[in-house]
């Protein structure tokens, strides 16, 4: 339910007024957007860029699902199909989901901890503006003679080394994305550790800030590992080294170890901020404090720690000692414990709450249910003996898409609907938001659930053609995919309407049950907020009155 309150008290009112007094936006398009050092503008740039990449990667997914609509080769050549699967993954991971979370971090972290801006605003600008060049370079490979990368987002040698000259562009693009991510993470950590308002101790911070702090440490630890691995691929390809080339004494399996030492934490980089957003939204619409705030913080840290020591579950089939298989199996299963704590705490927060079901809450509940399905299929994949059957089948595709689409992407949608009125100062259309949710929630299951059956029946991933026995489930999956893809246009319509057309003004505290510093600011917040640190008390702390 939308709040009808406009202010919270004299302190907060005067706060907004004081900040408004200094609300000097830069004039001119270039000054405002190209040279900006303002965390809100840079957050907007990240979010717009991520949305563009979401539709670019989504268009590639449509090509994939159209080709797989029926058995036989329909629309594209097999090599182009492989380029589509590879580019779809690289763009969705590095271009859509990660930049979207950095956009949320930019917008929300300073406002949530009472800081005037990010700690290093000029580096913040640089972090963003590297990205369009990185992705222009990556996408340009599709126009080159040798085509785009086609070895899968994992870039496994020897296949990735058999590509043409465009591989150098891919490696350089990955380097640039990595540099951008590392600079963004440094900024997040420096901001959270040094810029909090007086009284905002670490254990008073909103969960979203906590999850981003831990995510930023993960990024700094693993992005250089990816950079090192692709640099070695580059020298193997162009300079005659043999790090991963068996013919020269190198070890291709070593690449898989290095890649997944990056790749598994990367999965958590995409999902931990989602945990944070959902942990903000559920208490708001259940009108109850988050159940087990401290446990949530420790569970997030535990998941981050465990993410470093489970990588080889992605490569059970390469052959490893039995003790190694057992270790990686049990260590992987252990992740279910802190994840289970989180799901339990979200459900407990909702238990006996005065719940209402606005669009952000619908997406958050959708996240909890569907992410849990993805988590459970992950547990199945952790069982070494079973994984030998499931490996490289559509079961794996179904698993990670459940974690990333109704997981990470639904949380992004939830966060966007939750904070859109705060960012724009206008309410979005609740009716169209709900239509967007229900079509997305139904179609995403039509899209990905049949893929479990395809995988269990033995359909391999990354192929443009398949046996006729897989035809029915593929057709159902493709229909779900087309509906899901089309339904995301509603999201764009809702955003455009909210920004340009909506006449319903949002109050400062948009949602009745919302707590936290961002809600004491006006909607939209002043261009420069919290130049004077806010007062931290029970009414302004996001998770005050925690139910232990």
């Amino acid at each position: 339910m939308m709040s009808i309150e406009h202010t919270h008290g004299h302190d907060h009112e005067s706060h907004a007024a004081h900040d408004d007094h200094h609300d000097h936006k830069p004039t001119g398009f270039l000054n405002r957007w190209l040279f900006t050092t303002n965390h809100k503008d840079i957050g907007t740039l990240y979010l717009v860029f991520a949305l563009l990449m979401f539709f670019t990667g989504g268009a590639m997914a449509m090509v994939i699902r159209a080709e797989l609509f029926m058995p036989g080769l329909q629309l594209v050549e097999p090599d182009f199909f492989n380029q589509m699967t590879t580019m779809h993954a690289l763009i969705m991971v590095f271009g859509a989901v990660m930049p979207a979370w950095v956009g949320f971090a930019n917008w929300m972290i300073p406002m949530m901890i009472g800081a005037p801006d990010m700690a290093l605003p000029r580096m913040n600008n640089w972090s963003f503006w590297i990205l369009p060049f990185a992705f222009a370079m990556l996408l340009s490979t599709l126009l080159m003679d040798s085509g785009g990368p086609a070895a899968g987002w994992t870039l496994y040698p020897p296949l990735s080394l058999q590509g043409g000259q465009s591989f150098a562009f891919v490696v350089f693009a990955v380097h640039m994305m990595g540099i951008s991510s590392i600079m963004g993470s440094i900024n997040v950590i420096a901001t959270i550790l040094n810029m909090r308002a007086p009284g905002m101790s670490l254990l008073k911070m909103p969960l979203f800030v906590w999850t981003w702090l831990i995510t930023a440490f993960l990024l700094i630890a693993v992005m250089p590992v990816l950079a090192g691995a692709v640099t070695m691929l580059l020298t193997d390809h162009f300079f005659g080294t043999s790090f991963f080339n068996a013919a020269g004494g190198g070890d291709p399996v070593m690449f898989q170890h290095i890649f997944w030492f990056f790749g598994h934490p990367e999965v958590y980089i995409m999902i931990l901020p989602a945990f944070g957003v959902v942990s903000e939204i559920i208490p708001t619409f259940a009108r109850k404090p988050l159940f087990g705030y401290t446990a949530m913080v420790y569970a997030t840290a535990s998941i981050a720690f465990l993410s470093f020591i489970v990588w080889a579950h992605h490569m059970f089939t390469v052959g490893m000692p039995l003790t190694g298989e057992l270790y990686f199996m049990y260590a992987t299963m252990l992740i279910a414990v802190p994840t289970g704590v989180k799901v339990f705490n979200w459900v407990s927060t909702m238990w006996q709450g005065s719940m209402t079901f606005e669009t952000p809450m619908l997406f958050a509940i959708g996240f909890v249910v569907l992410f849990t399905i993805g988590g459970l299929s992950g547990l199945m994949l952790a069982i070494t003996a079973a994984d030998l059957q499931y490996h490289d089948t559509y079961f794996v595709v179904a698993h990670f898409h459940y974690v990333l689409v109704p997981g990470s992407v639904f949380a992004l949608m939830a966060g966007a609907y939750y904070w859109l009125p705060k960012w724009t100062g206008h309410m979005y259309s609740e009716k169209w938001g709900k239509i967007h949710f229900w079509i997305s929630a139904i179609s995403v299951n039509i899209l990905f659930f049949p893929q479990h059956y395809l995988g269990l029946a033995g359909m391999p991933r990354r192929i443009p053609d398949y046996s006729t026995q897989f035809a029915d489930f593929n057709m159902i999956s493709s229909i779900g995919g087309f509906i899901f893809g089309a339904s995301q246009l509603i999201f764009v319509g809702v955003i455009l309407h909210c920004v340009y057309k909506s006449r319903e003004a949002a109050s400062g505290r948009v949602w009745e049950g919302a707590r936290g510093l961002e809600w004491i600011l006006s909607s939209p917040p002043p261009y420069h907020s919290f130049n004077t640190p806010p007062v931290i008390d029970a009414t302004t702390v996001a998770h005050a009155g925690e139910a232990h």
Binding site: A119, M123, A190, N194, M223, F243
Partner: protein, 42 residues
């Protein structure tokens, strides 16, 4: 409302820059160590 003085703001900025340098150095060290470990092995 609590005021933060100019000295405190300057101190925070210098702490933030120091944090950034330390984290950047850690990232660079991980990158270099990975490459070096591969070079020394082969």
């Amino acid at each position: 409302m609590e005021k933060v003085g100019r000295d405190e703001i300057a101190a925070r900025r210098s702490r933030a820059v120091r944090t950034a340098w330390v984290l950047g150095a850690v990232a660079a060290l991980i990158f270099i160590t990975f490459i070096l470990s591969g070079v020394l092995k082969s």
